[in-house]
Symmetry: C2
Subunit: 184 residues, 2 copies
C-alpha cells in the first residue's frame, strides 16, 4: 500500500565487495520526516533439499565465518549473474554433494532479512538422486563435509543447535509436514 512507502531522497554507496554491497539511503517517511536505511545488496541464492532414495536428507557441514562456527545446512549457493535459479540449484547440488537428480521442484522463495538486506533464497526439493562421476567441484575457497540425515536425526540436530539456519529449519519442517500428511 502506498501510504507506507518510504521515498529515497539520497543514496550513498558505502562498499562494494565480491558477495555483497552496502548503501545508506536517506528516505522520506510516510509522515514527511526523514530517516536513514542501511541496505545490504545481495545477488540472491538457491537452496536445495535433496532427498535420497532411502529418504535421507543430504546436508553439508561448513564453517560460517560470520558465526565463527560450523553448522549443518542444506546445500545452497549464490546465483551467478543472469543464472536461472533451477540451473543454479542443479549446479550447487553437484558441486557441494556430488549428486545429480532426476527431479528438481521449486518449493518457495523467501527474503531472509527484509529489514536490512535484499537477499532472496529460492528453495528447491531434489529427488531421484544418483552420485555423478566426475562431478563439478567446489569453488577454491569452499570446504564442506557431507552429512546424510534421517528426518528424526535432522530434528535432533535442530534441538542440539547443529542445524541453526532459516532455510534448513524451513526445509526440515517441510518434510515433517509431508510425513504428517502421509500419516507416517
Amino acid at each position: 500500500m502506498n501510504d507506507l512507502e518510504e521515498k529515497t531522497i539520497n543514496s550513498e554507496e558505502i562498499f562494494t565487495g565480491k558477495v555483497i554491497s552496502l548503501q545508506v539511503d536517506e528516505v522520506k517517511l510516510p509522515n514527511g520526516k526523514m530517516s536513514k536505511r542501511e541496505i545490504v545488496k545481495h545477488p540472491g541464492a538457491v537452496a536445495i533439499l535433496p532427498i535420497t532414495n532411502d529418504k535421507k536428507i543430504v546436508m553439508v557441514e561448513q564453517f560460517r565465518k560470520p558465526l565463527e562456527r560450523t553448522i549443518v545446512e542444506i546445500p545452497a549457493g549464490k546465483l551467478e549473474k543472469d543464472e536461472e535459479p533451477a540451473l543454479c540449484a542443479a549446479r550447487e547440488l553437484e558441486e557441494e554433494t556430488g549428486y545429480e537428480c532426476s527431479n528438481m521442484e521449486w518449493l518457495i522463495s523467501f527474503y531472509t532479512s527484509p529489514g536490512f538486506a535484499d537477499e532472496i533464497i529460492h528453495l528447491y526439493i531434489a529427488t531421484g538422486l544418483s552420485k555423478k562421476e566426475n562431478a563439478a567441484t567446489l569453488d577454491e575457497d569452499e570446504f564442506v563435509n557431507i552429512v546424510e540425515l534421517t528426518l528424526d536425526e535432522a530434528l535432533n540436530y535442530i534441538k542440539e543447535q547443529k542445524i541453526f539456519d532459516a532455510k534448513t529449519a524451513y526445509a526440515v519442517q517441510y518434510l515433517q509436514l509431508i510425513e504428517e500428511k502421509e500419516g507416517k
Copy 2:
C-alpha cells in the same frame, strides 16, 4: 569440526551504522590459502507468531526499503542492548499490534543469512491475546498496518507472494504442521 575452520588473519572495519555494521576479514582457509569474508554484524532480533482466540494470525504490513515494497510479516524487532529475547518479544508484540499475551513460548532460533551475516532470530508463539489499553507505540520511524489472517488466508498470501520472508514462511508452515497433527 576443526578441519573446516577459517582463521582470522586481519579484520577491517568498513562501516558502523545504527542497525548493522560491516567488516571484511582476511582468513586463512583449511588448505592454507588466503581469502576474504564480508561480514555484516547485527544485534539479533525476535519474531512473534501471535494467535488470537479465534485462531487468526496477527501480522503487520510494512514497507521494506531493501525490497522497495510492502510485505506482510509476523511482528518482529531488533534486540536492544542486553535485552532478554522473551521480554523483547512481548515489547514488540505490544508496539506493533497493540496486543498483550498471557502465554509467550519459544519455538526456535535460527540464523537468517549465515553466509554473510550473524543475525539470529528468536521465534516465539504468543497466545491468550488481548488488546492492551494505552499500549506502547512504535518507534518514530516505523509505520505498519495490522492484518489478521486465518491459516488458509496466510497460505494464499504465500502463493500470491504478499508473504515473502523466511521467518513468516516458517511460522505459517509451523501452524500448518500443528493443524495437520491435530487432524484438522
